[in-house]
Symmetry: C2
């Protein structure tokens, strides 16, 4: 259905253009999944989090007065990726775009390329259960209210999360790592690192920061050894290791993964 697409063609070819990430400064947040993919691949990119007044560029794109351009609708929220004159948002969507280009996913939609749908599926599931749900543990009622206005509900949700949801999702990914489709090695799919592994790494890393007691207890159970081993294996990738030790890796703060002592429960 190419003929139905906007008549205005892209002026700038995307290939060869630098990658530009737009995200809030001061937290790893959802932008971190994009950064880890770019860093693992050794790609050249710019990041508004490290540009003076870079936040203004984020704000201008999500301003309700902004209605996009000929080929790009306005984004609702960061992370946003600019590449050539393409402007896309939504974490798993940006990763879907970048994955094949960065060698972190199969490309194309031929028989082998169906692997891209597996990697997208695993990414969506990790983000659902190990990023969105932890976020909701400190904001179960309203994202527009302070945590302090929903502390009682947060504690109730956090208790359910560590008792039921976190084991469910760790168990699921342990099962994926056991499956023949994983290739039998440390990675989720096809015997090779993909961006789904980087997403799962960041999710485990964040959950471990937010719920250290529950995470330690689950680690000690021995039921999820493959998942925790994947977290360690990603951490030791040379480019990731260098990145995590650099100033580009921002500290956890008041983002998705937050440490509140009273939410650090084990049941």
């Amino acid at each position: 259905m190419s003929s139905a697409l906007p008549a205005v063609k892209r002026q700038t070819p995307n290939n060869g253009s630098p990658y530009h990430l737009l995200y809030w400064p001061g937290i790893p947040g959802r932008g971190e999944h994009i950064r880890l993919a770019l860093e693992e691949a050794g790609a050249t990119y710019t990041d508004t989090a490290h540009i003076k007044d870079g936040v203004n560029e984020v704000l201008s794109l999500i301003n309700p007065e902004h209605i996009g351009d000929e080929v790009n609708p306005p984004p609702l929220a960061p992370p946003i990726l600019k590449h050539g004159d393409l402007v896309i948002s939504q974490t798993p969507n940006i990763l879907l775009y970048l994955g094949p280009k960065l060698g972190l996913a199969p490309s194309g939609v031929d028989a082998d390329g169906d692997g891209l749908y597996v990697i997208n599926e695993l990414t969506l599931t990790a983000l659902d259960g190990l990023s969105n749900e932890p976020h909701d543990c400190h904001h179960p009622i309203a994202t527009g209210l302070y945590y302090e206005d929903q502390r009682v509900e947060s504690l109730r949700k956090s208790k359910d999360y560590v008792a039921n949801r976190l084991p469910k999702f760790l168990g699921y990914f342990e099962r994926v790592l056991k499956s023949k489709a994983s290739g039998g090695g440390p990675w989720l799919y096809g015997g090779k690192l993909t961006y789904a592994d980087l997403v799962l790494f960041q999710c485990i890393d964040g959950v471990n920061y937010m719920f250290p007691k529950a995470t330690n207890k689950l680690r000690s159970s021995g039921l999820y050894d493959r998942v925790f081993a994947l977290h360690e294996a990603v951490k030791e990738r040379p480019n990731i290791k260098e990145y995590l030790a650099s100033e580009r890796r921002q500290k956890y703060s008041l983002g998705i993964y937050r440490y509140y002592e009273e939410l650090d429960v084990t049941e």
Copy 2:
């Protein structure tokens, strides 16, 4: 990175195989987004919701003992699509796979194909704000608890949802429909119906069922005329119209969109 993919090749070519949807019977649920795409395209498909004991097939695939096969990791939850020997899950992922095949999205990842990322982005955003959040309005604390065990929190979240979140997402899609990238017609992108339009239709339809008072109030404001017009335009598509009138269209019940009188608030 084809060489890194599992050595076992698919035995059954996907093209030409029938589509088989696996989803819970008795609710439209997340499976409805897949059904609407298949119905609009006039595709031949089977659906466990309409097969005697079809639920057993769903249960066998999400059983914790199931670890997938050579090319497919186990799915966590339905909707699940089987096509040839491909087995994929996650609503936006299944739509991404089906969209180009059904003529409901551009195909490929060339310059024009970048439109697929726009459609995926809009789909993810609609599902976030107009499907996942409404679900959480009746299950803000735990999906594993009954609504009756979280009624107080549900009312608090529903009030915030209709006052802040619902207008935010309607306003966002109104803005997308105003953008030049929409092509100026009734559809979200490129002047032609895509699966993102079908997703937005189902989201508006469900929100209207769950929060009729708030939806009517917002419709009457005139601020979101394009969004509500899109809902009407999809409803009038010949294949969709026939589907909605058929027994294949299941009634809203205890799924994502539920009607609780006490949650039908306007502020």
